[in-house]
Amino acid sequence: MFDVKADLLKELKKDGLGRPFVDLFISTHPHDDHCKGFAGNFYQGKVDDYDKDKNKDEIIIEELWITPRGLNNNLSSPAEDIRKEAKRRRKLYDDDKNFFGSKGNYLRIIGYDKNKEFDRRYCYVPGILVTTVHGSSLSWLEIFIHAPFKEDVETSKKYDDKNATSVVVQFGFKIDGYTGYKSRVLMGGDAEHEIWQHILDNNADEEKLKWNIFLAPHHCSWSFFNDSDNKKEIKPSADAILDKQIDNYAHIIASSNEIKNDDNNPPCYEAKQQYIKKLKLGSSHFLNTATHSKVGNIPQPIVFKINENGKTLKENATVAGATSISNPAPRAGR
């Protein structure tokens, strides 16, 4: 297994006291496969109580995003840890009407509180373009929030195992000296085809759905294309979203186990075939985290760099010396 924590510690900055921190943690929805390892790896509680020995290497989250469903569920134990931390932060706002956030205490609930908005100091609703985190400008990134919608949150409460309430966002990356976005990334957690149709029905600006990189929802599940028991028909929402790819070099990422020609779902072999069919450059631009590149038998992260040339797939520097590579990274530059 790849050591995610070690890599995060290498990538993240440390504060003046040597504590690692991340500016924003987005919890797309409260399921195990999106929350595991939160406790013990991310710091929970007042930053002033951070103990350099007991909490060593725990990552401080400056701002936390959670969905209403994430705040009110008992779906999974790891999700419960995120919920507790979100509730701790929310109480700070609710106890003090003049509180607008502080180090390690910022919170945003993404979505609606039934038919009304949450307190505006700590909520965002679909349709908002976010340019700051914990009171500080992101400068080179804008985040457009597409979902969750209030209706879908209510539906999800009736069917606990549904993936309806995922946060769906477009990340727009900017580069100094250029106007507009240099690259756009569309990610929607485990959002199923109904949610994507809902987004299409409500979206006012087509630009907000365009993508250079698309994360195949629910680990390359068939649920993006149709209900899981219907593999013969593709919903119009899937075609419409996949048609929003920009130019000829867009990539789709499947964050999943290896996709084999079997009946698993996720990852779903038929879904992979549909993605490849829709990509302008086909299979060379469909990347699976389990097989893209390996060092020995250990899968490595898929990394893109985004600069004045747009996005470029970064080849793993250590792959060249590896003795076992099951599926070398495509050499295509963009």
Binding site: L138, L141, H219, A290, F304
Partner: protein, 43 residues
């Protein structure tokens, strides 16, 4: 100027890191084992 986006290999799960040129970082979801299992979990 260069930003990165990194998709971690975490099986049927999601964990993504975005790091901007100015050092600002975002993590979307997590899947981190306390001890690294030899076999990937399947959901």
């Amino acid at each position: 100027m260069e930003h990165i986006i990194k998709y971690y290999p975490v099986g049927n799960a999601d964990c993504t890191l975005i790091k901007l040129d100015n050092g600002k970082a975002i993590i979307v979801d997590c899947q981190i084992w306390q001890t690294l299992p030899m076999v990937m979990e399947s959901k």
